[in-house]
Amino acid sequence: MWETIIIQPMTNLLLWIYDFLGHGPHMFGLAIILFTILIKLITLPLNASQVKGAQAMQALQNDKEWQDIQKKYAKDKEKLAQEQMRIYKERGINPFASCLPTLVQFPIIIGLYQSITRALSVTPYDMLKLARTIYPFQNVEGIIPLNSKFLWMDLGRPESIQILGFALPTLAIIVALTTYIQSKLTMPASTNPNDQSAQMTKMMSIYMPLMLGWFALNFASGIAVYFIISNVLGVVQYAATGRANWSNLLPGGSKKISSAKKK
């Protein structure tokens, strides 16, 4: 099932884009970039609902009624949950709206990784699996094996650049950096010191760059290209809404905003 609904369509789409681009050197890298843009466009409504959901939840954390029930029912978790649900219902907030798009991204990342490794077929067995993956209407004999070179990288292998005898994992660093920037920019300022959502977002902005950087360090560099493009597009998309919190990129930026708002 995973194979049929995720791997096969993704691999075929990647191959189709690669063929459309002329299947020369660097074209598989471009195919991954176009694929990422396509995925971003498809998940645009989901991302918009994520942003909306996150902002609604954020606004709620600073709401007086919300804060009051937190204090009032601090020792009665069941009642607190009932009251929270009431407020969600009254204000038309879906508490899971901000999580869903993240969950949707996860199978895409796994599927893309598997599709990239399959399309690039490092081993004969991978090549055989690729033969099974291709839709009958795709005429790919002429484009297989794919050219895995993109700029200085081999997209089927983890990337590093030799500098003074050291293998510097540049893509992993860029992935971690862009993930950090994206999460910081999209992190709304909170005035509530007990804001659990803000604390969670702050932690995510530390762990996610480390996790994605680790992936980029250890797996095919094609997936790192996906992460970077996806992050950059995420930043552009958020900036286009005018909500990007650029001051968060500066040390103590969010604190300054919080204290400024308190004054």
């Binding site: 796994i110 490794t117 067995y125 002429g142």
Partner: protein, 357 residues
């Protein structure tokens, strides 16, 4: 670290583990290589090369003695006339290794740096020189003492199969769709022909030309005195090498069809012969029987009219070309309960080999 942070960290770590598990380790993922002499079968499977006694089916030695994460074998090992067993690794450092076939002790190892590819294809030994095809698109020219004798020959596409020879020229197929004719004396490429599809298996040399199968689903005939043409088309990609027997060329494709082409007339000798699964391994002919190993894990013996003489369920998936030693047919299935089995000409299984952990 408070409880919430710990929970989040554990969640992300689990996510990382999940993604790692799903993605798998592509390099460790391939079928074994196989060779034999009169006493032993040599199986290159995963992290080890095993020598197995042909009479008892017992392990004689393994190389290396302990699993080594840097070594990974899938190419067919090759025996040389001066008593070496040659095998390249696709592991981290891509060493090319010479072993003593009697003991499994290392005779020499030539290390290839990180940026060079792995060894998927087997080497060819011609006039005391080893021509080793690498996935980085080069043929490395090494003498029997493990020293590079000449500059590597650059061909371009990944090389997954052993070069063939008529005794004077090298014939090499490449995944970049090309068939190359190389003069080993000079290392110069005499001719390159576009096959229209990747060619993962070795060409077969006939008396006046060479036959090559490819993913273009064709058999290309390249004449020794110049010129080439498609002499047959198949329903699907051709993976294994064609098998030449007199004036008949046998080959199979990924649709599972087995073909018998009369080279004199250009006609097929039989209509449809299709065992139970796709055929990746090259065919094997012994006496009057043609052996076909299928992905469904079946070994089929056909007569020359294409009729099934017997068929045996071996298990797993068979991608490795079976080899013959005396009267025995050795089969190395992939993802089966055992890694090697032997059959006699009547299809009776003598033993199976399962390596001890």
């Amino acid at each position: 670290m408070n409880t919430k942070r710990l929970k989040l960290f554990v969640l992300l770590a689990l996510g990382a583990t999940f993604l790692s598990a799903c993605s798998g380790q592509p390099l460790a993922n391939n079928w074994p290589g196989l060779a034999t002499d009169s006493e032993h079968a040599y199986l290159a499977a995963g992290s080890f090369v095993y020598a197995v006694d042909l009479e008892s089916g017992e392990e004689v030695w393994r190389y290396p003695a302990e699993a080594n994460g840097k070594l990974l074998f899938y190419a067919n090992p090759v025996l040389t006339s001066d008593g070496q067993l040659l095998i390249g690794s696709t592991g981290k450092e891509h060493p090319f290794i010479s072993l003593d076939p009697a003991t499994g002790k290392e005779k020499w190892t030539k290390h290839f740096t990180e940026n060079k590819g792995g060894w998927v294809g087997s080497p060819l030994v011609l006039n005391d020189t080893i021509y080793a095809p690498n996935a980085d698109g080069f043929i490395y020219v090494i003498n029997l003492n493990g020293k590079e004798d000449a500059d590597p020959i650059e061909l371009g596409g990944a090389l997954w199969s052993a070069p063939s020879t008529d005794g004077s020229l090298l014939y090499v197929t490449s995944l970049d769709h090309y068939f190359h004719v190389i003069d080993p004396a000079t290392g110069v490429m005499n001719e390159s022909i576009d096959l229209g599809g990747a060619a993962p298996s070795s060409p077969v040399v006939g008396s006046d030309g060479v036959y090559v199968g490819s993913f273009a689903s064709t058999i290309e005939y390249i004449k020794t005195n110049g010129g080439h043409k498609v002499i047959a088309k198949t329903d699907s990609w051709i993976w294994g090498s064609p098998l030449l027997d007199g004036q008949t060329l046998y080959y199979a494709d990924l649709s599972g069809k087995v073909y018998s082409l009369d080279l004199a007339s250009g006609n097929q000798n039989w209509d449809i012969v299709q065992p139970d699964g796709p055929v990746v391994a090259s065919l094997l002919i012994v006496g009057d029987q043609i052996y076909v190993a299928t992905e469904a894990g079946t070994l089929v013996a056909l007569d020359r009219e294409g009729k099934t003489v017997w068929e045996k369920t071996v298990g797993g998936k068979i991608y490795t070309t079976p080899v013959i030693s005396g009267d025995l047919i050795l089969v190395a299935p992939y993802q089966a309960d055992f890694v090697l089995a032997d059959y006699d000409a009547a299809g009776k299984q003598a033993w199976t080999f399962v390596p001890e952990k």
